[in-house]
């Protein structure tokens, strides 16, 4: 079967902002699919609200709409673009749900648009709990006894019938959102109520718990001719009960015999055939460890996080093949790009072992529950490849960048044996370290297995690592032992620590004896065919097969590792564009990264891809082999920047801004000198190391002060501190996780924040635009609503910002990207911080202005001058469009996390609203972020004393809109005094009518709650914010955000205009007038 000739113009729906459960994997999948569609000569229309993605680049799709992913918006785009088909299976659950809604409304039929890839019926059969169950029963595929319920009482009744514990799974939700395991009726009622609300169709499946069984996944593909293949199967280290996104996962399965494996593989084929899947599909199983009994857990009839992992684990490009299948091709017509000889109709076979470990945000949310359940909590993940499991596990652990390089964590060393046993019972993010410690203490593998249900095979591997640790500790470092330790991927620093010798000695011993990393190819076929793809991993027990060439100058580009709060997909965008630009300049490019969800780790991006941890030793091994002519660190976020010094020590020239200048920007004293030199003021501040020093500094500066560790990203560990008590607590917290570097204490200025991303060539600076934050200083820039171009700054302030930016870039000898944050306070411009590297705003500014910032920066760092590239230095002309970047949070996924915004970043993703006027852009941004509020409704206002005056005019706006306003006593008094009509309610735990009544009765549309400063986990405000989020009420914690929302609500909801970003990119002349403002 060949391509369907009727498919000419395809609408691809992206997955929207990065949230927990839906991360960069869909940018990877979407980008790959769009490229495949274009390769086949189709016209691709893309819609995605997430501006930080590569898929929304003008050169990936033909028309690009960065618009809210809502039904009216997509309908409008369909009316404008008239695509003949929609590919809905690449935009995750969000894209799939949207496509289904369009179909159910009859809109697609009416406009003669077909869903390609998978039919609505297939999607329904897989997604609708009841239909899924019926379908499985029809083909005799076992599912755990379950019932779909639409109210809590039915759920309780059914649970009583099948017995606790029960698993609750809401239909149509993200990352198992709202699901969980209930051990009794009380838990059931709590989880079920939440789940019913979160489900788009108000359905939750109540299911017999099969916790403790093995969790096995199959990634399968099927084409329209009925041909089926398995790309890969995967086994979860954690038994059923932990969401697969939160599990350590290994590929291929390890403890399944051929009989077990083939049974499940045949079942998966049976299922996708019955569902009529055409494309990629993920099937999850629970397998009884003691028999052949299994249950189908769920089926995802689309490209998923697991399929991204399977693609990277095997080299099989699932999204690309799925896109071609959607066009009508059959698997045997699609070439295997890896071998160039074989076809997509084939099953990858691995000759290595792959381990994935999730990256959790618990370092950001210290109060959030760290336990792992069926509700996913990880923001990202790392993958590693090795010839043995132990090595893959060790590599993955150090890829997480948690200052942990092996299985040892100090925090457990002093825990008693009894307490360790208790810790083993807790299923949380650190369980693997607890297990290792338990084994060290002599708790038996059998006992650990009984408690954790983790397969003995995995436990044995951990025991093996612990044995080697012990041997290293016990014996004089012998050659055989060193060899074995390296085979198992113990890093030199861990070997040195255990053996009690300097790290350099370990390295020397290795070099003297030729114990060096060698690199193997990921080729889909275990070397059966010659591979054409340059996709490598390291091991210490084999021959090197990388061919090192020196015919072109080669540049090493360091990636940004796992997606985490503060370092998201934006940095992958920058890394990929850097690689593309360098390739265009005819450099050989080498990328090192360990994130399986990203575009940068696709094997056809750079000339060579090393899928490796980003630690000094791992990078050094590659450098020793490749001997690159230079390295680029400014695009890979803090992960890459951290390696600057080490790369220089290896003799690799850093392209772009010099390391000592990077230091100068981070080092308090050096930076102060530069500011003084440039006559730029900054808030008074001090550098301290200890709590007493911090207190002294705070007293000199006067509270409130801003406290933060240096060398961090996303404001990690940053706090606004208002009292001595808080200060002592925060200094302790900071010192727990960050060492070596000093802590900065600054006077806190509550002004307007502005931000600039610029490119400097050493002499001249190109400023695409100035962004302005809606929220005043004190909220992390990543969590603020950001507006480009600035709309409220007077010309003299703009001039000052441009002038300061230019001075700073020159003083720091910046070559490449620079990001500068300013505060405008009482008509004076202060500098908050300077980052001589890419920032999270670079992708969106590139798209709105049509100025390819990363490309220019990549040219500048290799020697080009801004003028040579056709740009006039200075601030560029404002775009014709206004863009509003809105942060998106994943608070509902993180039980117990405080949602109050502050200097530490908490958002996981962002959306863009783009329009010709501010109000519409703002409105779109709120819509994109999922804030779709009625013009009138009911709201609760409860603010801290300091805000009680300022809240009055804001409340008046909502009152005027027609909102019924409830307030807690203090706020109510202030509002009444200010002339606002309010209904007073009692505090959370007060008598009825209380805040709790409002929340639990689902009366509210909106909550405005500004947190009091300091830690307040048990206070009323915390509870209100938490319950609001968990009952699905929008809650804003900053007055400025509340004000902006009022503006958006006030703007008349006339027809929104859709903006094709690709036109801006393709026609930069419209904005690139090169005239300073």
């Amino acid at each position: 079967m060949a391509k369907n000739p009727e498919i000419k113009k395809v609408l691809v729906i992206g997955s929207g902002p990065i949230v927990i459960g839906q991360a960069a994997e869909f940018d990877y999948a979407g980008t790959q699919a769009c490229r495949a569609l274009k390769e086949e000569g189709g016209t691709v229309v893309l819609v995605n609200s997430n501006p930080a993605t590569i898929m929304t680049d003008g050169d990936i799709a033909d028309m690009v709409y960065i618009e809210p992913l809502t039904v009216p918006v997509v309908e409008k785009i369909i009316e404008i673009e008239k695509p003949d088909s929609i590919l809905p299976t690449l935009g995750g659950q969000a894209g799939l749900n949207l496509a289904m809604e369009l179909d159910e409304r009859g809109f697609l039929k009416e406009h003669h648009v077909r869903l390609i890839g998978t039919t609505p019926l297939t999607i329904k059969k897989a997604e609708d709990r009841l239909m899924f169950k019926e379908t499985m029963e029809k083909i005799h595929e076992p599912v755990a006894p379950s019932q779909v319920v639409e109210n809590v009482d039915d759920g309780a009744k059914f649970a009583e019938q099948i017995g606790y514990p029960v698993v609750l799974r809401p239909a149509y939700t993200l990352g198992g959102s709202g699901g969980g395991i209930a051990h009794n009726e009380e838990e059931l009622r709590e989880i079920l109520e939440n789940g019913l609300r979160l489900s788009r169709v108000g359905q939750v499946l109540v299911e017999r718990s099969i916790a403790g069984w093995k969790e096995i996944e199959y990634e399968v593909m099927r084409d329209s001719a009925g041909n089926c293949i398995t790309v890969c199967n995967m086994e979860n280290f954690d038994p059923v009960g932990v969401h697969t996104g939160d599990s350590i996962v290994v590929a291929p399965s390890q403890t399944l015999s051929d009989k077990d494996h083939q049974m499940l593989r045949s079942s998966a084929f049976n299922i996708i055939t019955e569902l009529g899947i055409t494309g990629g599909c993920n099937v999850q199983y629970a397998l009884d460890p003691d028999s052949f009994e299994y249950c189908v857990i769920e089926v995802n009839p689309r490209v998923s996080r697991s399929s991204a992992l399977a693609s990277k684990a095997t080299g099989y490009p699932i999204a690309k093949v799925a896109a071609k299948i959607a066009l009508g091709y059959t698997l045997d017509e699609i070439r295997n790009a890896v071998t160039g000889k074989t076809y997509a109709m084939f099953e990858p076979t691995l000759d290595y072992c792959v381990v994935k470990i999730p990256k959790w945000p618990f370092d950001k949310f210290i109060y959030a529950k760290k336990t792992l359940t069926t509700q996913m909590k990880a923001t990202g993940e790392v993958m590693s490849i090795c010839t043995n499991f132990e090595g893959a596990l060790m590599k993955a652990i150090r890829s997480l960048e948690q200052n942990t390089y092996g299985l040892q964590r100090r925090e457990y060393e002093d825990v008693s044996g009894g307490d360790l046993r208790k810790l083993l019972l807790r299923v949380d993010s650190r369980r693997v370290f607890v297990i290792a410690e338990a084994l060290r203490r002599g708790i038996t593998l059998q006992e650990i297995h009984e408690v954790t249900k983790i397969d003995p095979w995995f436990l044995d591997k951990i025991e093996h690592l612990v044995e080697v640790e012990a041997a290293l500790r016990r014996d004089y470092l012998k050659l055989d032992l060193l060899r074995e330790a390296k085979r198992l991927e113990f890093p030199d620093r861990v070997i040195a620590e255990l053996a009690g010798v300097p790290e350099e000695e370990v390295r020397q011993m290795r070099m003297d004896n030729g114990i060096v990393a060698s690199y193997k190819t990921v080729d889909t076929c275990a070397a059966e065919f010659d591979a054409e793809t340059p996709y490598y991993y390291s091991c210490f027990d084999g021959e090197n097969e990388v061919e090192v060439t020196h015919d072109r100058k080669k540049i090493l580009v360091l990636g940004s590792g796992p997606i985490r709060i503060g370092q998201g997909i934006e940095f992958d965008y920058c890394s990929v564009h850097c690689v593309w630009s360098l390739s265009e300049q005819n450099y050989e490019t080498i990328i090192i990264n360990n994130n399986p969800e990203t575009v940068s780790t696709d094997f056809d991006i750079a000339d060579k891809l090393y899928f490796e941890p980003l630690t000094t030793e791992d990078v050094r091994s590659i450098v020793d082999l490749e001997k690159p002519d230079g390295a680029v660190v400014q695009f890979g976020g803090q992960t890459a920047i951290k390696l600057t010094k080490n790369l220089m020590e290896m003799g690799v020239p850093i392209l772009g801004t010099d390391a000592k200048d990077v230091d100068a920007a981070e080092d308090r004293e050096l930076f102060d000198e530069i500011l003084e030199q440039c006559h730029i003021p900054r808030a008074a501040g001090r550098t301290v190391f200890t709590a007493p020093q911090a207190l002294k500094a705070a007293h000199e500066l006067g509270y409130p002060v801003l406290v933060r560790p240096s060398y961090v990203l996303g404001g990690q560990g940053m706090h606004i501190v208002a009292s001595d008590d808080d200060m002592v607590q925060f200094i302790d917290e900071i010192n727990e996780t960050v060492q070596e570097h000093p802590i900065l204490v600054d006077k806190y200025l509550m002004g307007k924040e502005c931000e600039v991303d610029a490119v400097c060539d050493g002499t001249n600076i190109l400023i695409p635009g100035i962004m302005e934050h809606i929220e005043r200083a004190g909220i992390h820039s990543g969590d603020s609503i950001s507006v480009y171009p600035s709309t409220t700054l007077p010309p003299e302030i703009v001039d000052k910002i441009v002038d300061d930016s230019s001075k700073l870039a020159k003083a720091l000898h910046v070559v490449g990207l620079i990001n500068i944050q300013f505060i405008v306070y009482h008509d004076e411009v202060y500098v908050i911080e300077v980052n001589p590297r890419s920032s999270r705003t670079v992708p969106y500014i590139s798209k709105v202005t049509g100025i390819p910032i990363v490309k220019i920066a990549a040219q500048v760092i290799t020697g080009a001058k801004i003028r040579d590239l056709g740009y006039e230095p200075g601030l560029q002309k404002k775009s014709d469009y206004i863009a509003v970047k809105m942060p998106v949070f994943s608070f509902e996924k993180l039980r117990g996390a405080d949602i109050g915004l502050g200097p530490e970043m908490k958002s996981t993703g962002e959306v863009l609203g783009i329009a010709t006027n501010f109000d519409e852009a703002l409105h779109k941004a709120f819509l994109g972020a999922g804030v779709n509020l009625p013009h009138t409704g009911e709201m609760l206002i409860t603010v801290r004393d300091a805000d009680k005056e300022e809240i009055i005019p804001i409340a008046k706006r909502y009152e005027k809109l027609g909102y019924k306003i409830y307030a807690t006593p203090g706020t109510a008094r202030a509002l009444t005094a200010g002339g606002v009509k309010v209904t007073q309610v009692n505090r959370f735990h007060g008598p009825s009518p209380s805040v709790a009544d409002l929340l639990y009765e689902h009366r509210l549309d909106l909550v405005i709650d500004t947190p009091t400063r300091g830690s307040e986990k048990n206070r009323d405000g915390f509870l209100i914010r938490r319950i609001a989020i968990e009952t699905g009420v929008h809650c804003f914690t900053a007055l400025d955000t509340a004000n902006a929302l009022a503006t958006a609500l006030e703007s008349p909801r006339k027809d929104m205009t859709m903006v094709d970003i690709a036109k801006i990119v393709r026609n930069p002349g419209a904005v690139k007038l090169n005239a300073p403002e």
Partner: protein, 357 residues
């Protein structure tokens, strides 16, 4: 204990000895299956060969007697990167290490199996020696390694006496050229009464049993080494009794009809080989284990037409004979190990015999 794998090109891999320490010389072939090492070890088709598993972690789920495809292990040598020290599976009875020892299979672990596989892919299948003698002299062992010939191995692997698996359906004569147990099981599960005959049983004896169908099994070695079998097959073919053949059986039937076979450079061994049904265009993933193949150009299309081809290299994977109810495939529909996707071919065999009974 250290062990060495010496290839006929002089390349030496050093590893650890597992299983028997007896020195062996054999043909070295690689298998790309990620599971199914036990079935591989007990597949008689590997007699006279040493098998390299390309998946690095072997022995993870141990060994259980139920998954044995024949009464014993057959490869002369077994080559792995890592042999699991602690297997885990609910059916695990013993470790791979102990099984190799018990079965007298010489093994070596701890070598770079990927590098070895690449050599075999580039240079083609070659002979090799596994030894624990660290004092081997290259000039002494190389001539011996090069001189090795797998020879006629069917004799070694076939059963000595006929056996019967009772069933109340069709009577099937299964010619055991080194049959994997699952061929008989697949038929028996479908109700067939299966009589398993030694490979060199003459046609008359088989016909005396009045079979409804004849099943030709897989087996080891070069099909051309078995002229007697080929002669008997001509007789069986002429009777018009439905015949279904797998692997060596498929090659022998081709030779019996005057077609030719050739040795492949490195063969097909693994569980991921795609074949296309030439009648329907449907493709299937199949388990395969063969070093010889029916030459495409030698097929007389008056006698038989190609039924399956390999999606990757276009080689012949099956024949539909035109003048007699004979259907033969190069791959392994009985799986064990490998995908069950073509298991339906046994139903087709039943149809050839007259449909379900």
């Amino acid at each position: 204990m250290k062990a060495f794998l010496i290839l006929e090109n002089g390349r030496v891999f050093t590893g650890e000895s597992i299983g028997s320490t007896e020195e062996v010389i054999s043909e070295v072939v690689f298998n790309t299956s990620m599971t199914g090492y036990e079935e591989v070890l007990t597949d008689p088709s590997y007699a006279g060969q040493s098998v390299v598993m390309t998946y690095p972690l072997i022995g993870n789920y141990g060994i259980n007697k139920l998954d044995m495809e024949s009464r014993r292990a057959w490869p002369d040598g077994f080559i792995v990167r890592e042999c699991a020290r602690r297997p885990s599976n609910f059916r695990c009875e013993t470790t791979l290490r102990d099984f190799l020892l018990e079965q007298g299979v010489t093994g070596i672990s701890g070598i770079d199996t990927r590098a070895l596989t690449k050599i075999l892919r580039v240079s083609g299948t070659m002979n090799g020696m596994i030894t624990t003698d660290s004092d081997f002299r290259m000039e002494e062992v190389l001539p011996r390694i090069r001189a090795y010939n797998q020879g006629r191995v069917v004799d070694r692997v076939t059963c000595s006496e006929p056996t019967v698996l009772p069933g109340d359906g069709y009577k099937v004569a299964l010619m055991d050229y080194g049959a994997k147990g699952n061929i008989a099981r697949c038929l028996n599960q479908r109700g067939c009464q299966v009589t398993i005959y030694p490979a060199f049983t003459d046609a008359a004896t088989v016909l005396d049993g009045h079979p409804d169908g004849i099943m030709l099994s897989n087996g080891p070695g070069d099909p051309k080494n078995c002229p007697e079998i080929i002669n008997e097959l001509r007789v069986l073919y002429a009777t018009g009794i439905p015949i279904f053949a797998i692997c060596l059986g498929h090659q022998l039937m081709a030779l019996a009809n005057g077609f030719d076979t050739r040795k492949m450079k490195w063969g097909h061994r693994g569980g991921n080989h795609p074949v296309r049904d030439l009648k329907t265009g449907r493709c299937y993933i199949t388990p395969q284990n063969h070093g010889y193949v029916v030459k495409k150009e030698s097929i007389d299309t008056e006698i038989a037409e190609p039924a399956f081809e390999n999606v990757n290299d276009g080689s012949n994977e099956g024949l539909q004979y035109l003048k007699q109810p004979v259907y033969t495939v190069q791959f392994h529909p009985e799986a064990s190990p490998g995908p069950h996707d073509t298991n339906f071919l046994f139903d087709r065999f039943l149809d050839m015999m007259g449909g379900k009974r």
